[in-house]
């Protein structure tokens, strides 16, 4: 199972539809302060099933919806889609009929969010399990947000234990 693309629309500062190709090896993302780089990481974490608004640097989950700028009005819907190449057919049984999987999550202001896999409604639980089976997910060790390395350095020994638990 490989991640192949990430599509955002109305998500945080990415108000216009945006597609990030994810290919093999090392993909660098650059740009000035405040332009939206870390928002991309949060889009990935969100579509994989993040349930805490605080982890998304917001007060409530609606904070992920484009809130407007000096020239554009706020939106009411945000959507993120993750394209997965499943040609090695290693996804869990219930999702394993296809070579390509598209996991999407869509939120509407004041109405909560829902998931779809290849267009079919899915439960958050099933989406989270899909990623957990591949050793990844919203809280995976491999998603290192900005400031996370500093937090590990300053953490008390007991707070570093979850790094082991994740690896177990």
């Amino acid at each position: 199972m490989q991640f192949s693309k990430l599509r955002l629309s109305g998500f945080k500062s990415f108000v216009d539809p945006t597609e990030l190709q994810i290919d093999a090896g090392l993909t660098g993302v650059v740009g000035p302060n405040g332009c939206g780089k870390s928002n991309l990481v949060e889009a990935l974490r969100w579509v994989m099933g993040e349930t805490s608004a605080k982890q998304m640097r917001g007060g409530e989950m609606d904070d992920v919806i484009f809130g407007g700028s000096s020239d554009r009005p706020a939106r009411n819907i945000a959507e993120v889609q993750l394209g997965i190449d499943n040609s090695d057919r290693r996804a869990p049984v219930s999702f394993n009929d296809h070579d390509d999987l598209t996991i999407s999550r869509r939120i509407e202001r004041g109405k909560g969010s829902g998931y779809r896999v290849n267009g079919k409604d899915s439960r958050a639980r099933d989406v989270q399990l899909l990623f957990a089976d591949s050793a990844t997910g919203a809280r995976a060790t491999g998603l290192v947000s900005q400031g996370r390395i500093g937090a590990i350095i300053n953490a008390k020994p007991r707070d570093r234990r979850h790094l082991l638990e994740e690896a177990a």
Binding site: F14, V15, A24, L26, P32, S145, R148, I152, R160, E166
Partner: protein, 162 residues
């Protein structure tokens, strides 16, 4: 419970020692579980000695040495259970160019070893130069992010544009 934790500890510790000496170009490091009444409450202590220095607790190292040690630990946990994707958001910020160089070499090595795809957010010119491809994020229109594919020259301009 306890048994799984000890097995995971041993696996992570073994990776950690190898990764530490790759990232520092030598030296020695190891993890230890703090003694607690309830083993499931144990904490993780980190001991390290960069090349030519004495072994000490991580808190006595310099800012950059601590960051590099913590990166070794995260990669050690990651390699114990590799995933198809790894995202690193400005983890190279406190590193000097020599350490950035070793950090990038390790990334390439892991990508080849596990097939993991990496997304690396960085401001370091040297890290940009070691990527297979680069995307730039701009806010040409205030408050609105746009993604563009760039080459190294373009990335440096973007970095300076602000």
């Amino acid at each position: 419970g306890r048994q799984r934790l000890v097995v995971a500890f041993e696996a992570v510790n073994e990776h950690f020692q190898k990764l530490f000496s790759k990232l520092f170009g030598g030296g020695d490091a190891h993890l230890s579980l703090t003694e607690e009444d309830d083993p499931l409450d144990a904490g993780l202590e980190i001991f390290a000695s960069p090349p030519g220095k004495k072994m000490q607790v991580m808190s006595l190292l310099s800012g950059g040495e601590q960051a590099l040690t913590a990166i070794a630990l995260v990669f050690a946990a990651f390699l114990t259970n590799p995933a198809p994707i790894c995202v690193l958001d400005e983890v190279d910020a406190p590193l000097d160019d020599t350490n950035v160089d070793r950090f990038c070499s390790l990334l390439s090595e892991i990508a080849k070893l596990t097939g993991t795809r990496f997304l690396i957010i960085t401001h370091h010119r040297m890290t940009m130069a070691r990527m297979d491809r680069l995307f730039g994020v701009t806010m040409a229109e205030r408050g609105v992010s746009q993604l563009v594919s760039v080459d190294l020259r373009g990335a440096e301009q973007l970095r300076d544009a602000g």
